[in-house]
Symmetry: D2
Subunit: 266 residues, 4 copies
């Protein structure tokens, strides 16, 4: 089967890129499963129920989140009736929603999607490694799950790489999100797990991590509050990773996808 | 003129890749100037005088540093007799060495190399933006300097992107180092400055940020001290960015370079 | 002369304690100078012009700030017409207001008040040590200034203690603010500078750092957004330090002051 | 019963204060239980088996640790044969030793001692609140435990205060350690739990958090490596908190203890 993971969708520019291009890509690339990180889909901050459904309508089989999960407070409520919306698994027990979901893909395959937050330079969360282990043990690759995708939403390259190596051979894909810049280290690890330190964002790369650059440029130098952070409105690059997955659930090939906007296309 | 910037050289594997491949690349690509970040060249931590000279012998015109500048204490001393070694410019006044150097390139061009450290998720340093401004004003592009290279050694993608946009049109290249993973967002900004959020490392990408992965994998999960961090010893990828620079000092083209090791070649 | 420094005034409870008690204390203790940290005076976040004047009316000769300086945006404007309002000196050049002020005290003495922000676990600022040195050199103790007060607004005890020792013998008082809890290490250092790692806040100590405790208790465990942070409304403790200063500008005695609320009185 | 908690013992100066003064204090104050934080007892960094036994011999009934638990690697081994040595409870599962111990005090009472690490500005650990809850539920106050002591080893005053309020009425004492400076906010909370944001250290307060001040003063300003951090060798202040505990396990009175060294005595 063939799976596409798209990085953090940022605001209207990012959503437009998804709705415009994803349906065609699904047909063209014969995609069996699409997972999208949607933590910045609502004007750069969080996600609403309408946007969650917009992403599903465009072809997403599952939507993941991150440190911006609850920026739109309604997410704390509608996540419980949104079975394909996955928030970081290492939030405290009692947090609304789920940290992992076994979803049925377009081809009928059972795909386990786990979202987890790193802790280096991030908020204090429970152990991401122990949390993911528990989910993977519950739906082992090749027995319960036909494919397993782990979205590690983290800042430090080291923590994401450790997650990749720890899970190598037991999941189909470990992919980083959160930095909003794609890395060029996509590959299949020796155990058969596809890996990319960060998949990048679906947003306008001519801003600063997808936001209009005026305010970040001012604030980082002047250290005073001022205007709001607004998503950059230029054409977005759809940024993702395509993984070919064998019958055993492991990756056979990995291809970066970058379409539109200012980045060099793949 | 054509310039190559190579990211953080990590340990013996990284140095071997440089000494083996750089001389050939200089000839083949007709490189006029080579700048290398050497902060991890000495067994992963800092740089020695012998290694500094090894990098110059291999073809480097200038070597930059970062948060690991002084891991080998001798660097605090020999840097004052090493005119092509540049440490972050925003260290406190009185720090040994220099934060910027106007060097003569292979083609006789005057190239200003500035090294600066970011502050987001990094150690407390003086304002990186003000510090770089001062250096660029001292040797303006097209008047004093034929090319200007700014190595922003930083963790956060946002801080590096702000540096790129702030300097766009006034320097030849703003390139990030420190995360040890190349980003796929290399391009020429609208004002004519080449930019890449992080150039990646020259090291073995099958480790964790260039270090043997056994200890990082153990320590990040077990949270106890243990073995030492050792550089990974597998074949290194030479990771850099090639910039074509016009007569006005601005970039006309930018090409990522990745050769050897486990990464997809360019 | 005798000087009183009062720590971070938090919201209405803190302001009421100041306006109710400070006039009497000035008379009773024969205070020649009162400096108050007002960074949380406006409902816990920043300061307004009306509140700045309320503090002066209550007897403050000078008001200092901190990381909350600009929470009320009007402070960016009115600070330029508020000569006794001092914001951290190590903000970038160009920041509104001043980082040090030489003010005339009630007894006609010239008192230099410097406000500076630490960098450990705080926002990225310029070097606090170099910045304070410059101010102290401009108005040396015993020659230009009859007394010098340095309010180091910082998180880490180590950074505050380093500031105390670095300035020992050259200023009258180095006092920490920001943690909102008074420390019991007030004393005169060997060189004659009065020191206290943190002077504590003027606020309701039955909350969490002066804020109503419901929301901090919930948020720190549940990790979701929710209610607002509101100042705690119970009776505040006025928390400060009294310094007796000799003709040479150095401290001869130091006495903690804690009046009202739930803390043990001094 | 009457319990004494002593803060972080730093190096030889701190140990000497303990061994010289604790036996007399036990007799004089009729102490039934003594708990000491020993994370810096071995030359400022960690603890050895010999020092653990030295502290027991001086009268400690229990020794707690913190972020320096394993600075002396032997602690990873001997902790398993040291039933009265308690390391932070929120280390990952599988960590040597224990995070809580039900010990028999001098008067035969069963005292539950829990050590826990905060996460704000500290290393990434599991949820401190959930971890302490589990221990307290296992040995509830008044039923299993005659007294419960929680040592929250943390940086931020807010996190320590939240722990105090969360546990108020269910434990005898919540006391902070780690900042090495005693706070003046000791009191019995409304539910009957004794609380102090930080108990301070047993060490030489004329250094920087108990270390000789030459190196911290140099390094914090010069930002280069250099000499080692060595414990300050001047006379130490024994810094602790005395809690009187009723038959129901709750606190009836709380008194700070500061003896020797440069701090004002209690
Ligand atoms: Fe994001
Ligand atoms: Fe994020
Ligand atoms: Fe590096
Ligand atoms: Fe680095
Ligand atoms: Fe404050
Ligand atoms: Fe503050
Ligand atoms: Fe300590
Ligand atoms: Fe500690």
């Amino acid at each position: 089967m063939r799976l596409l993971f798209l990085g953090d969708v940022v605001g209207k520019a990012g959503r437009t890129a998804v709705t415009d291009k994803l349906p065609g890509l699904i047909a063209e690339l014969k995609l069996d499963c699409v997972v999208i990180n949607g933590e910045n889909a609502a004007h750069g901050f969080g996600i609403t129920e309408a946007i969650y459904e917009e992403l599903l309508d465009a072809g997403a089989d599952c939507v993941t989140l991150g440190n911006h999960s609850w920026d739109q407070r309604e997410a704390l409520v509608f996540i419980d009736r949104a079975p394909r919306l996955v928030r970081p698994v290492n939030y405290p027990s009692g947090t609304p929603g789920r940290g992992a979901a076994l979803i049925e893909a377009k081809n009928g395959a059972q795909v386990l999607v786990v979202n987890v937050m790193g802790r280096v330079f991030m908020d204090a969360m429970d152990d991401p490694f122990a949390a993911v282990e528990r989910e993977v043990e519950r739906a082992p690759l090749g027995r319960v799950a036909d494919a397993i995708v782990v979205d590690i939403h983290a800042e430090a390259t080291s923590e994401k790489q450790v997650m990749g190596h720890v899970l190598d051979g037991r999941v189909s894909l470990v992919v980083g999100t959160h930095t909003h810049v794609p890395t060029a280290d996509h590959r299949v690890l020796s155990g058969g797990t596809a890996f990319q330190t960060d998949v990048g964002m679906c947003g306008d790369y001519d801003g600063v991590i997808g936001m209009d650059r005026a305010e970040p440029l001012r604030r980082m130098r002047e250290k005073t509050p001022g205007g709001k952070f607004e998503p950059a409105g230029g054409p977005a690059t759809l940024s993702g990773i395509i993984v070919d997955i064998g019958a055993n659930g492991l990756a056979t090939a990995v291809t970066p996808l970058r379409v539109g906007g200012v980045l060099a296309p793949t």
